[in-house]
């Protein structure tokens, strides 16, 4: 149980270091992008890795968050912090609309609905020009995402996420993932649990989208397309379905590689696709499987300390 406290302190120390240590502009940029991607990836990880629901359109929630924040800030003079939070909340509200009918069905239905959602959101953004300025996007957003903002948002959201999966909710989600029939015959309202997972994951993506807008000072629908959605899912699969630290590790690796290997960016999608297939066929566990980095000592057959998540 002390692990919780240790974990929280570690994250806080890490946050303080990353937020305030002097660094050059370029490194800072990568760090901020990393934080934003990690927040979104944690959201997708919760839904796909921990609750077993495949999603193909999570970028739609990022779009929802980004546009909500941008519109509130620029058209209604709302301060950035409540706008970002509102972005997360509205993304969750959108997820609720799609989730209520689909969470009681098998995973295929949500996957298809999420595809449709991504498209539908793009259409709405492109056509509701009076509010969203269409496909050209919204430029000139006040750059409220400073390094400290990105890092602290990440630290706090990561803390909440890890605590969540190490709580009764983590067990609920994993039960729904591993055997939804058994879960409901333990008295769990499985559609409800899956919906909660979806709402939280959408909230995280909404926040990430809003922070992205504040980082780039500019948003447009093309930033939240299938490529982004696929990228998020690939990160989670690559890191290991059921490992939050695996997701973060994978995000770090892939983001860095993408930045460092800009020249091959046209092959990026091809590589994401290939990663998905190859991981599933050759090493479905991805990097860490369903264990966290600090759990590699357990799983020996036979006697062992009582350990539980």
């Amino acid at each position: 149980m002390k692990k919780s406290l240790l974990g929280a302190l570690f994250l806080a120390a890490l946050g303080a270091a990353l937020a305030y240590v002097p660094m050059d502009y370029y490194t800072e940029g990568i760090l901020m992008l990393l934080c934003i991607n990690m927040i979104a990836a944690m959201g997708v990880s919760l839904l796909t890795g921990f609750t077993g629901i495949f999603t193909l359109g999570h970028a739609a929630y990022m779009a929802m968050g980004a546009y909500t924040a941008a519109i509130l800030i620029m058209n209604y003079d709302v301060p950035w912090l409540p706008s970002v939070l509102a972005g997360g909340v509205l993304a969750a509200a959108l997820a609720w609309v799609v989730g209520v009918p689909t969470m009681k069905l098998t995973g295929d239905y949500y996957a298809i609905a999420s595809l449709g959602l991504c498209e539908a959101i793009r259409l709405v953004i492109e056509n509701w020009q009076s509010v969203t300025r269409g496909a050209r996007g919204i430029p000139g957003i006040d750059p409220y995402t400073t390094r400290a903002v990105a890092v602290w948002f990440f630290v706090i959201l990561a803390l909440f996420m890890f605590n969540l999966i190490y709580s009764r909710w983590g067990r609920y989600f994993r039960a729904c993932r591993d055997d939804v029939t058994a879960a409901s015959l333990l008295g769990f309202n499985t559609p409800s649990i899956r919906l909660v997972s979806l709402l939280i994951s959408a909230f995280y993506c909404g926040i990430a989208g809003a922070l992205l807008g504040g980082y780039l000072s500019f948003i447009q629908p093309a930033m939240f397309d299938m490529m982004k959605s696929t990228e998020l899912t690939s990160l989670v699969v690559f890191g290991g379905l059921g490992s939050m630290s695996g997701t973060l590790l994978a995000t770090g690796i892939i983001t860095l590689i993408t930045e460092l290997f800009r020249p091959i960016s046209q092959y990026r999608m091809l590589i994401y696709g290939a990663v998905l297939v190859m991981v599933m066929v050759l090493r479905p566990d991805g990097l860490l499987g369903s264990r966290e980095i600090w759990e590699f000592r357990r799983r020996r057959a036979g006697a062992g300390k009582e350990e539980s998540r």
Partner: protein, 259 residues
């Protein structure tokens, strides 16, 4: 006499053309250890599925603890106080042994959402209590030493016992065991006998056991219901069942397994 905790009243269920459960009725008193037997395919598991509303009933009624359950959703029936195990094991294979049991145990030691994400408040205490209770159940089934092992890697017999521990952790009023002895050798069956009678005695549960092996049921259940082809063909104590010609025909009829 105790009031009946479970009343099965003229239940019927068909799947397409197959009339799987035909007008079955019986009552289980509170605190009983009862058996539901019959050859393979007789409809026993279907009865369990109807009790827990995995399938909706076609007609009839099921009354548990005084209230009808047929209009409830599965999870609502369970919350009323029923727990079950499965013919084809349904463990959470990727989780640890302890986690499997805690998933059930935590139902009684809960805490709020804010406490979940901050690990403050009641989180630590309740988790501790749930863990302790879970270990007690694991002790009872003899798996305490394997608490940290991945459930899917356990030998088959232990997986079955784990499922029982998980069901017990729900602290139910009625425990439904679906073919708990499946795939066990005689030694393991003897241990299972002891386990079930121990649970019945110590925890004062009502238990209904499905088996198509007669030995287990005959030894431990004073009240037995026998079904064949979906219909009830006999009900009574072990001696009545043993001598019942219908039962003998069902099991031996076309030179099937001996009793």
């Amino acid at each position: 006499m105790n009031a009946p905790i479970l009343e099965i009243l003229n239940i019927n269920k068909s799947f397409g053309g197959v009339h799987a459960v035909k007008d079955v009725s019986f009552k289980i008193e509170q605190g009983e250890l009862a058996g539901l037997i019959g050859p393979n395919g007789a409809g026993k598991t279907t009865v369990f599925n109807l009790i827990t509303n995995v399938y909706p009933i076609d007609s009839g009624d099921i009354i548990f603890d005084g209230l009808s359950t047929i209009r409830l959703k599965s999870y609502q029936v369970i919350r009323r106080g029923i727990a079950r195990t499965f013919q084809n094991l349904r463990l959470f294979g990727k989780s640890t042994v302890l986690d499997n049991v805690m998933t059930a145990a935590q139902v009684h030691h809960t805490y709020g959402f804010t406490e979940s994400i901050t690990h403050l408040g009641r989180w630590r205490r309740r988790e501790e209590i749930a863990r302790r209770r879970s270990m007690e159940f694991l002790e009872r089934v003899g798996l305490a030493g394997r608490a940290a092992q991945t459930a899917g890697t356990l030998p088959y017999g232990m997986q079955r016992r784990l499922e029982i521990a998980r069901a017990l952790a729900l602290e139910p009023i009625l425990l439904l065991l679906d073919e708990p002895a499946a795939g066990m050798n005689p030694e393991e069956v003897a241990d299972l006998n002891k386990l079930i009678t121990g649970i019945h005695r110590d925890l004062e549960l009502t238990i209904l056991v499905i088996e198509h092996h007669m030995d287990l049921i005959m030894q431990i259940c004073p009240h037995i219901v026998c079904v064949n082809f979906g219909a009830k063909i006999a009900e009574g104590g072990p001696d009545d069942i043993r001598k019942n010609p219908e039962v003998l025909k069902a099991y031996l009829g076309d030179d099937e397994e001996a009793i």
